[in-house]
């Protein structure tokens, strides 16, 4: 494996940084290197949050070039589309189809159509998280769905979640599984 570059897009309060941390820690447990970078600031006032995670045998830069991300992980459909230029031609985009509140008015259906046109896998992460028993675990649902595209088995993520998530552990593990099952990978 050479490297996996991941862009995680969402808004403040969605647990963006937790997902980035879990990916980095999972990679580290597999003897890989990891670099993670994030932009906060006004994030906790509902602004956009973007995390970058890069894993591989040797990782230098904390930043990801446009057109080179292997995975775009969207915790919110509009925010995911905002970073579509980072995706490599062969990259995979996985995003929640549930919208976060935004006072600006727009057509949700148009956004979802755009996402589909860009080849996104969309899943109702918030609804699945509710099924798992904790509506706040939508971030873990999306991680579960994206987990198919990482070079290690789901158990590595399970362990990372067990070691790093203190609250709602059972619910988060279930959320991960529901997300993982939401995407069927053709062999």
């Amino acid at each position: 494996m050479n490297k996996v570059d991941v862009v995680i897009a969402g808004i403040g309060g969605q647990g963006n940084l937790l997902v980035a941390g879990l990916i980095a820690k999972a990679a580290l447990s597999q003897g890989l290197e990891a670099k993670r970078s994030e932009i906060k600031g006004l994030a906790q006032r509902g602004g956009p949050v973007q995390s970058l995670v890069r894993i591989g045998e040797k990782v230098w830069s904390p930043l990801i070039e446009q057109g080179s991300a292997d995975i775009l992980l969207g915790l919110e459909p509009v925010e995911a589309l905002r970073y579509v230029q980072f995706l490599a031609p062969s990259g995979k985009a996985i995003a929640s189809s549930n919208f976060a509140p935004n006072p600006v008015s727009f057509s949700q259906e148009e956004i979802l159509t755009k996402a589909r046109n860009h080849g996104f896998f969309l899943l109702p992460a918030t609804e699945l998280a509710r099924q798992a028993g904790n509506v706040q675990s939508a971030n873990i649902v999306v991680l579960g769905a994206a987990s198919h595209f990482f070079p290690f088995p789901a158990e590595v993520f399970h362990r990372a979640i067990e070691e790093n998530v203190k609250r709602f552990l059972e619910e988060n593990l279930k959320a991960f599984e529901l997300g993982r099952q939401a995407i069927v990978i053709q062999p």
Binding site: K35, I39, L42, W60, S61, P62, E65, S68, E79, N102
Partner: protein
């Protein structure tokens, strides 16, 4: 040895702890706030002081250094402007115990009012500077910085940038700790009293020692040279070096810079080898300028190879090295998303009342409340720097315009106090609105002097204003609109200075603390 996944801020914090640091002083500021947060939460027993501003933080550190202790002082780049007087003069006096000044620059201004390159300020002060390219180096360099500081008896500036501070990477450490220095008082007034007669001698000495600084820089492992057959060379420093390494295929010669003053002999060797040079650095073209006077083809920010503003990226490096570069176009037609006040935030209601009051001008300050300069509120007219709300309001009041100055509680203590004294003394006709959420919210909830935690003596705003003789009124912004309008109307109608304190605790930080 164990392998940690640390941000640059965490790496600096642990580097200091393991180097035997005895005290940490700071004023919070993105992206450097977490350095002291981490030291405080580490359980290592290193006392941390959230000072009222960066100047006080620096002087606190200098005082502890005078007693031979190793000290870390951290701040954001614009914070160093506030501490600049103390920093400059401490290079004349020198230090006793190692003093490391960690500064978080913010290229691209993710959370700042300007872009500054602190390497220039280290050069301006004529002291030593280290610049890490990843968290591992941030950790090692912090420890080296203490050694160099004690070897030279000078403060050492550790230049960080947002992508280092908030960038996580693996760091090897055994968690061993060097013993703290013995507390020692050795007076040397010729060095520590910078009256002109002493200062004249000290400046001469400082200049004479610059070669010593260069010699140390020359020998550090943070500078690395790779001379290769191809006559094109790349010089890169700090996080820009990491971007370059991402693209470096081993055919161009490469010089990594990690310390300042620049390692001159190394530069000379590199220059003699290469016909053409590309300089990649974060911030100002400092290395590039040092080369530009030489008769050589040098590319960088001065000739437009790289933009002069905003952070360096691997994309820019790829383009400068004329590597194949392709990307899909951005999705342009998306609804924007603006940050806004948190649900239920008292600031929102106070600003709505201020908007209804409609004074001719509202001078603002640094904090969450900068949101009130944007739609839908658009009530703040100026934001310049910490404390400038009251400072500028003075000039407006002296010009016959009655302003309202708005600032937060922590900002008031930081730099609002001195102009408040002027306002009282000159009977300046202005209204000051202090938004008191009882915390330093924007940077993650650091304490203010009004807190009585850990047995500290709370310094209440009422006490301070009462002592100054400034009339004030405290109100709850969650009261009905009509009541708020009456409070604002009365306060503004009264000849100034008058102070309104809008008091409602920060809900976001309160929730977070409850969760923790």
């Amino acid at each position: 040895m164990s392998r940690q996944l640390w941000t640059g801020d965490e790496a600096v914090a642990w580097g200091a702890i393991q180097a035997g640091c005895s005290l940490s002083a700071a004023y919070p500021g993105t992206p450097a706030s977490e350095i002291q947060e981490v030291i405080g939460k580490s359980g290592a027993g290193v006392p941390v002081y959230w000072c009222i501003n960066e100047k006080v933080a620096y002087e606190t550190a200098l005082g502890a250094s005078y007693a031979n202790q190793r000290v870390l002082v951290s701040m954001k780049h614009v914070g160093l402007n506030v501490a600049m007087d103390s920093f400059m003069n401490s290079v004349f006096t020198g230090v006793n115990g190692g003093l490391v000044l960690a500064v978080g620059d913010d290229p691209s201004m993710y959370s700042s009012q300007n872009e500054q390159d602190s390497r220039l300020l280290a050069a301006f002060a004529k002291t030593f500077c280290l610049e890490p390219s990843d968290p591992q180096e941030a950790f090692t360099m912090t420890q080296t910085a203490f050694e160099i500081s004690e070897q030279l008896h000078l403060p050492v500036l550790l230049r960080l940038v947002t992508r280092i501070c908030y960038g996580e990477g693996q760091v090897e450490t055994d968690f061993s700790r060097r013993a703290a220095n013995e507390i020692l008082l050795q007076h040397d007034r010729r060095r520590w009293v910078v009256v002109p007669s002493n200062a004249r001698v000290l400046h001469k000495k400082l200049n004479a020692r610059q070669r010593e600084l260069e010699a140390i820089s020359e020998g550090l492992p943070f500078n690395e040279i790779h001379l290769l057959a191809k006559k094109r060379g790349i010089i890169a420093s700090g996080v820009a070096y990491a971007h370059v390494r991402e693209h470096w295929n081993g055919s161009d010669s490469l010089l990594k810079i990690g310390s300042y003053p620049l390692p001159q002999a190394l530069l000379q060797r590199f220059l003699e080898h290469c016909q053409e040079i590309i300089v990649v650095e974060e911030g100002e073209p400092l290395v590039e300028r040092a080369l530009a006077r030489l008769d050589r083809k040098v590319h960088g920010k001065l000739d437009g190879t790289f933009p002069r503003e905003w952070e360096m990226t691997p994309d820019l490096v790829a383009q400068a090295l004329t590597l194949p570069y392709s990307h899909r176009p951005a999705e342009v037609d998306l609804p924007p998303r603006y940050p806004g006040f948190c649900a239920g935030c008292g600031y929102n209601r106070a600003f709505a009342a201020l908007k209804r009051l409609a004074p001719p001008v509202v001078t603002g300050d640094i904090g969450c409340y900068s949101l009130a300069a944007f739609p839908p509120l658009e009530v703040i007219d100026t934001i310049v720097c910490m404390g400038a709300s009251i400072g500028m309001a003075l000039g407006l009041a002296y010009s016959g315009i009655k302003p309202v100055a708005v600032l937060g509680d922590s900002t008031f203590f930081h730099a609002g106090l001195p102009p408040m004294v002027d306002a009282v003394h000159n009977r300046a006709d202005l209204l000051v609105l202090i938004l008191d959420n009882e915390i330093t919210a924007m940077t993650g909830g650091q304490p203010t002097p009004a807190w009585d935690n850990d047995g500290k003596a709370p310094v209440a705003l009422e006490q301070v204003l009462g002592g100054l003789g400034a009339p004030f009124r405290v109100f709850n912004p969650n009261r009905p609109e009509a009541e708020l309008d009456e409070v604002f109307r009365q306060a503004y109608a009264q000849p100034g200075p008058m102070v309104l304190i809008s008091r409602s605790p920060c809900l976001t930080e309160g929730k977070r603390r409850k969760a923790a």
